[in-house]
């Protein structure tokens, strides 16, 4: 499942045949162009986020000179009503807040993006905890010969097949269920639904990994007096770390970026996750390109930072999870 690294053996080479440096550069040109097409838009959005919207409309393709953080203030400062209610805690009065808002050129307050980041962090973390725990445990049973109960194989295939379900088949019923069990418009609805949508893939990946661990390790721990839970927790889990981290990375991306269920199950603006909040904001201020650019940067930033730190692992995980339909 590894992505082979660039190999050192002799290979037919484009570059060796190109003797002078000019043709070398020319050979790289197509790749450079593709890089510009792929990465260019992202950099463009980052640049725009540091410029005022009227500057952008005069020339959308310019460097952020002068440099403004106004868009980020706009994104992070809470709306006026919320600030007013917070005034005592902040040690000022609503008048003081009004004055500050006038000074910073945000008469109605900002978008309060921090709030949505918190929502997203809560939902993603809770769902990740749940799904990782329950699927690792279940995968252990599906992987080890010791637990080969009759009907285990068919049960696994039955769960595995749900990987190919389009989300539409559960979407409306989950909405209906959420309404009848009073979790509609709460973060709980997402925390419960996200793990379910990841079960099939996680189970598949974890089972494949756990099944490779030699039985001797399991036996040894049992001889040392561990019961099944201790064997699982103290012996198997540490060995399965690479697979678990793969699964966590895949799920993290899925949950953090999830849009469909969030749109269906959460209609209160203050409960929105980041993608949903960004979507709401586009509806409100479609022409505030600078402000939206800041929102987009805030949305991508956490994942992109993680990617910069763990790029190889991200690529391997996504490739490993590629069988998801």
């Amino acid at each position: 499942m590894d992505i082979p690294k660039t190999r050192v053996e002799a290979k037919p080479s484009l570059v060796v045949n190109l003797s002078n440096s000019l043709s070398r550069v020319l050979a790289l040109l197509p790749f450079a162009i593709i890089t510009v097409i792929v990465v260019g838009p992202l950099i463009w959005v980052v640049l725009m986020s540091f410029r005022l919207t009227n500057e952008i409309f005069t020339n959308p393709y310019a460097l952020p000179i002068p440099f403004h953080v106004y868009n980020y203030l706009h994104a992070f400062v809470p709306p006026k009503e919320e600030l007013d209610s917070l005034a005592p805690t902040l040690g000022t009065t609503p008048q003081g807040i009004d004055q500050w808002l006038q000074q910073t050129n945000l008469p109605d307050g900002g978008f309060g993006f921090f709030h949505y980041i918190v929502n997203s962090v809560i939902v993603t973390t809770a769902s990740l905890l749940i799904v990782t725990t329950i699927t690792t445990m279940a995968a252990y049973v599906f992987a080890r010969q010791r637990y080969a109960f009759p009907g285990r194989g068919p049960l696994f295939i039955f769960i595995f097949l749900s990987m190919f379900f389009p989300p539409q088949i559960t979407q409306l019923s989950l909405f209906q269920l959420a309404v009848s069990y009073k979790v509609f418009n709460t973060l709980w609805s997402l925390i419960l639904v996200y793990p379910a949508m990841a079960i099939a893939l996680d189970l598949y990946l974890l089972r494949a990994f756990l099944a490779q661990i030699p039985t001797e390790i399991e036996d040894a721990s049992r001889i040392d007096g561990c019961n099944d839970w201790q064997t699982f927790w103290k012996v198997m889990l540490p060995i399965a770390k690479p697979a678990i981290s793969t699964v966590i990375i895949i799920n993290l991306l899925d949950f953090w970026n999830e849009f469909l269920y969030a749109l269906t199950l959460v209609t209160k603006p203050e409960l929105a996750t980041i993608p949903l909040a960004t979507y709401h904001w586009v509806g409100e201020v479609e022409l505030d390109v600078g402000g939206l650019a800041a929102a987009l940067v805030i949305s991508m930033l956490p994942i992109v930072i993680l990617y910069l730190m763990l790029s190889e692992q991200f690529m391997q995980s996504m490739v490993g999870g590629a069988l998801k339909g």
Binding site: A148, L161, F165, L172, A196, N257, F259, G325
Partner: protein
């Protein structure tokens, strides 16, 4: 463990070596099974049940069910009608014409299918050629892989808003470039025109998935035995011949798998459409997923039965195709390394 063995064990009074510890199995399996049943099996069953009913939402709490049988499906499923006029024949040669009860649904199905079939045709060969080029020791391979993969991490909401700007008529990057190279006459409102909106979305999808397809192709190409390539080179093959006669046959399975994956992904296209065009202009980018969403929540029909029928139909199509493809490939994994 069969009943006989169980009884034998009991009678003998000895512990059978491979006795199943059911309590542990239950403990380990229960949480996942509970989640799976409550949030997958129950909703799926409900959707099937809802699809043969009319569900009226009465205010905050109540839902009134009226059984309507297959009425929803009768509207959705195209009915063949005998035709004798060759011009109206289905596909031009079957003496039937398909009569669709819901024309927007027909468009949605067409767009989803077109998207699903067109995307892989461009995505996969492009990824293959690029991966092969990187394999031929282009410098900075690691950087290119790293950079091209980035869009894969970004949510459709962000990508969609970005592309709304990129496709903007006045200042979008596409039109700015076109005008810059003197092709200003080609500049159009890409997402606002009925004939360019869907292609524009297809290109957006290509942008997002390029790095992903490329990395998988690169992995497949790198697993081609070096000896084979070397032997071919010694025999005087050029890089095009090596690609065509050695690499391509060996990565065919990966390529087909990727194409299937791509196809299935497009069948579920929702967020990318919802954020960019919302199905417009005049339903020209409507997909099945967005149409279902609209019928359920936006059209104020207050009926969840009809969209449920759409969901069931599409579930059968998507799931059926997935299983069919699996069967054709005779393997359980879609992607093999």
């Amino acid at each position: 463990m069969s009943v006989v063995t169980a009884l034998t064990t009991l009678v003998r009074g000895t512990r059978h070596k491979s006795r199943l510890s059911w309590q542990w199995i239950a403990l380990f399996l229960a949480p996942a099974l509970v989640f799976y049943c409550l949030f997958i099996i129950v909703p799926v069953a409900m959707t099937f049940f809802n699809s043969v009913n009319k569900l009226q939402i009465l205010g905050a709490s109540g839902i009134r069910y009226t059984f309507v049988g297959f009425q929803n499906y009768n509207i959705l499923i195209p009915q063949p009608e005998l035709t004798l006029n060759p011009a109206n024949m289905t596909f031009g040669f079957i003496p039937f014409t398909l009569v669709w009860g819901d024309d927007i649904f027909r468009q949605a199905v067409e767009h989803s299918l077109v998207w699903g079939f067109v995307s892989p045709i461009f995505d996969i060969p492009f990824a293959l050629v690029l991966a092969y080029a990187l394999y031929l020791k282009v410098p900075f391979t690691r950087f290119f892989r790293f950079a091209w993969f980035t869009p894969m991490l970004i949510s459709w909401v962000v990508v969609g808003i970005m592309f709304r700007w990129i496709y903007n008529y006045e200042w979008g990057a596409v039109n700015v470039v076109l005008r810059g190279v003197g092709l200003g006459s080609l500049a159009v409102d890409w997402l606002g025109r009925t004939d360019t909106a869907l292609p524009a979305l297809i290109v957006m999808g290509m942008w997002k998935f390029l790095g992903f397809n490329l990395i998988l192709m690169l992995a497949a190409i790198s697993s081609v035995p070096v000896d084979l390539v070397d032997a071919a080179r010694i025999d005087g093959c050029n890089w095009r011949q090596i690609l065509w006669s050695i690499v391509l046959p060996l990565v065919r399975v990966t390529a087909v798998n990727l194409a299937i994956l791509d196809f299935m992904g497009k069948m579920k296209a929702f967020a990318e459409v919802w954020v960019t065009t919302n199905g417009g202009p005049v339903y020209h980018t409507e997909t099945v997923a967005t149409y279902m969403q609209k019928r359920a929540f936006d059209w104020q029909t207050l009926d969840l039965g009809y969209p449920s029928a759409i969901a069931v139909l599409w579930f059968i199509v998507v799931f059926g195709l997935a299983v069919l493809f699996q069967r054709i490939l005779q393997r359980r994994e879609i992607v093999e390394f």
